[in-house]
Amino acid sequence: MSWLTFLLTSWVVAVPVGFLVYAAFTGGYPGDPASTFTLQYVTKVYATKAYLDPLLNTLYLAFLTATIVTPCAMMIAWLVARTDMKWKETIGSLMPVPIFISPLLGTLAWIALGAPEAGIINAWIGRGLLGMKGNLINVYSFGAIVFVMALFYIPLAYLLMVGNLMRMDGAMEEAARTVGCSPRQVFFRVTLPLMWPTILPTFLIVFILAAEQFAVPAFLGVQSRFSTIPVILYGAFQQGTLPPGEVAALATQLVSVTMIGVFLYRRTLKVSRKYVVVTGKASAPKIVQLGGWQWIALTAVGLYFALAVILPCIALVIGSLQRFLTPHFAAENWTLANYETLLRPTYLRVIVNTVLLATIGAFFTVLLGFVIGYLATRLKGFAVVGADYVASLPIALPGLAMAVGLLWTYALLPLPIYGTATILVIAFVSRFVGYAARLATTSFQQIDPSLEEAGRMVGMTRLGVIRRIAFGLVSPSMVAAWALVFSFIVVELPTAIMLYTPKTTTMSVAIFNAMESTGAVIGFALAVVQLTLIMIGLLIVRRLAVSLPSMA
């Protein structure tokens, strides 16, 4: 079973990357008899200014985003986990919501809100309320790119940190208080250093995700002439302006960036073992009394939700009800026609595709993640370690690069998968199995193996133990993982946009295409429907009394 899992995981993850590397060094289409070994594409991509500038832009954008996201998320996580902030349980349960709005929808919303002359904020607040001649904000700027990305990566970073903060052993903080340290000193001298092993990996994961992001810089970077490697890669692949070998080499460049992040991430994990803060004999951490800082904290969190959730949702709804985007709300410009358009067979198919692909994709992702998590915590051996490592690779692999590799893998191989929903399911499993495996591993680590041993002692088979005991114990986590992966797939764009066909178009792709060609207002209407679907899914999960997992 271990070897089967290792081979399956390698197939869905490592093989596409292999094809990518192959294409980077041969040029031409995979299977093209004219392609021969060459270094020209790799040399051009890795050693010419034309590509080094966007590479530096990518690194800079990723670094800045991670630098802003990590402390903001840390602060919110600390407020929720370790203070007496009012409504912290509600705030904690609402924190994942911006993940489901996603950077793509956030970009649409902030174009409607912050476009220089025609954005709602500039027109209504800047010129209307404040009487300004210029613009209050300009969404088509580098700062706005960082702002939008930060808004929608903060919740992910929060989920990565809040669990550890909640479970941290309070003994050291108690000791510091005992010797007379103020709450501020305790935070900066004890809590923060103890959190470094969580902070650094969080920083790196956000760095990796920001490096591979392409929708936000694609829409907002054109005016400021800010170009990143993912934007060039997407444009080159879609327009066919570069030879396939150069496209593949670009994709490997993106992979190299994220692989450096993965390498550093795994190094910090090794170091973090010296900083075990969650032990079997933990004492409950003391809750910090905020006192006069209560309302400042609430205002800050409220401002974040306003910028990340409330304003974008309002903008999306407004845009979806207009004949064309405008800040001038004349009566004749309101319409339900965009929603009527969504009743056409093409769009109904898009909605059904999304729900089906997300449901099936999440199921197989969680299934594979469950198996990997079980094997990683219960067995030893090369295959087990290998499967766990390979499964974690996609967290670092850019979706665009992965998709290019998958496209060429299945275009070349004589398997009837290309152009079908199957290739999308494989792609989604590849992309998100790392998250599911990590959640499963965390869950199994918290369960004593003696329960399963008891099952074996009374005569149950290994499969019986897994099915009746192991799965039963972790099923709440697995249902929560399914909900999380379902939402990730619904909003996923970089992989889907490379692999979709007319019959397998997803909502994210349709939204992106609407912005590019068919009309922004249709994109807004689709965005509202997508959000509604996700909210319904989350409500169902909450009714099942399952809360979304932290990933720490």
């Binding site: 400021s224 064309f324 004749e332 912005m515």
Partner: protein, 375 residues
């Protein structure tokens, strides 16, 4: 003893039957068969032939068994305007459509066709040179529509035929630009007019065939240069469809080289925009071709026939806001004939071969100017 033929032993009826069988056999071997349709199918065919005179019945019959067509289309509202009318005539054909801008559309088809996994039956496009190369590779199907002799525009006989006519115009937001100022937009000299500094938008170069014609005029003409157009004018750059949406929203005052189809669509929705199309006019066609190994070739032919019929072209004209590619379909778009509208009086002469050959050079000049103009 005289030879007696078999025929002499047959009755008169028998001889007639023998003659009919001989004739039918001769007809079959000459490629001439009588396609028989059911009564219902015959009714549908008769209705279709009123719209598409001379529609080959064999194509109709074979399309009935194919039952679907996949169209890789450009972003105009075909589903809302054209598909319903097509379905009325051919209710047995299910349309699957895939929409993108011309570059990604062609790239997708090319990748699929070269790997032998053709999904599209019909591909719409505007990048002539690339499709010519595909035709040379044998990836473009052969078909001559019944209306071929009535079409005006760029044609590659047997391969692709124009399905519309587009003119590139200078558009303006009527809330931000007075009609007096807008008069200047009726000439190409306006490209260098400093009064548009900071207020103008351009489409990014990757927009595809449509915009390469525009930037060829910039490169070869005397009106301006890329540096002046992008740098000195501080032009904002958008993907082509977004440019017109930003104009309608009021983000920009003027859009140079706007695709009039996008303008008509937003004008119909009530956007405060108008436009003028300078002389020499920049006119080109979108076209469509049938994929070489189309999964449903006859349904594809029916689609092509319908879109190029008079009815189809009237839908393209009034419904989609595009010029017709048929010489016998007058321009009935609401904007044409308005007092503010200006059409070109003559057109810029070009060949797509020259334009395609200059694309790499144009792209390099564009990118250099964009880089230099960093805000």
């Amino acid at each position: 003893m005289p030879r007696v033929s078999m025929a002499s032993h047959l009755s008169r009826a028998g001889r007639s039957l023998l003659l009919a069988a001989a004739l039918m056999s001769a007809g079959s071997s000459a490629g001439w068969t009588q396609t028989k349709l059911s009564a219902d199918a015959q009714k549908l065919y008769d209705e279709a032939e009123k719209v598409i005179p001379g529609l080959p019945i064999e194509i109709f019959a074979k399309a009935m068994s194919e039952k679907e067509v996949t169209i890789y289309r450009i972003g105009h509202d075909f589903p809302g305007v054209v598909f319903p009318e097509f379905k009325k005539l051919f209710p047995f054909i299910e349309i699957t459509e895939f929409s993108a801008t011309v570059g990604p559309l062609l790239q997708r088809y090319t990748a699929e066709a070269r790997s032998g996994r053709v999904i599209a039956d019909v591909v719409m496009n505007a990048i002539y040179g690339d499709v010519d190369k595909l035709d040379e590779e044998g990836l473009v199907g052969r078909y001559v529509p019944t209306s071929a002799d009535k079409l005006v525009g760029t044609i590659r006989p047997g391969a692709y035929y124009p399905m519309d006519t587009i003119t590139l115009c200078n558009a303006y937001n009527t809330n931000l630009v007075t009609e007096a100022d807008a008069q200047a937009l009726g000439t190409w000299e306006t490209l260098a007019d400093p009064k548009w500094k900071g207020k103008v938008a351009l489409a990014e170069f990757n927009a595809g065939g449509v915009i390469t014609l525009a930037y060829t005029l910039v490169d070869k003409g005397t009106y301006t240069t890329f540096d002046k157009l992008i740098g000195e004018q501080q032009a904002k750059i958008y993907p082509l469809p977004q440019m017109v949406e930003r104009l309608a929203a009021g983000d920009i005052s003027v859009a140079f080289f706007a695709n009039e189809a996008n303008l008509h669509k937003l004008k119909k929705a009530g956007a405060p925009i108008q436009w003028k199309c300078p002389t020499p006019g920049l006119r080109l066609n979108d076209f469509q071709f049938i994929a070489a190994k189309a999964p449903h070739p006859n349904a594809a032919r029916l689609w092509v026939e319908f879109l190029l019929s008079k009815k189809g072209q009237e839908l393209v004209n009034v419904g989609l806001g595009l010029g017709s590619s048929r010489s016998d379909v007058p321009d009935a778009r609401p904007a044409v004939g308005q007092p503010w509208f200006q059409a070109p009086t003559s057109y810029y002469p070009y060949t797509w071969k020259e334009i395609d050959a200059s694309v790499p050079d144009l792209r390099a000049k564009w990118e250099a100017a964009v880089k230099k103009s960093k805000p």
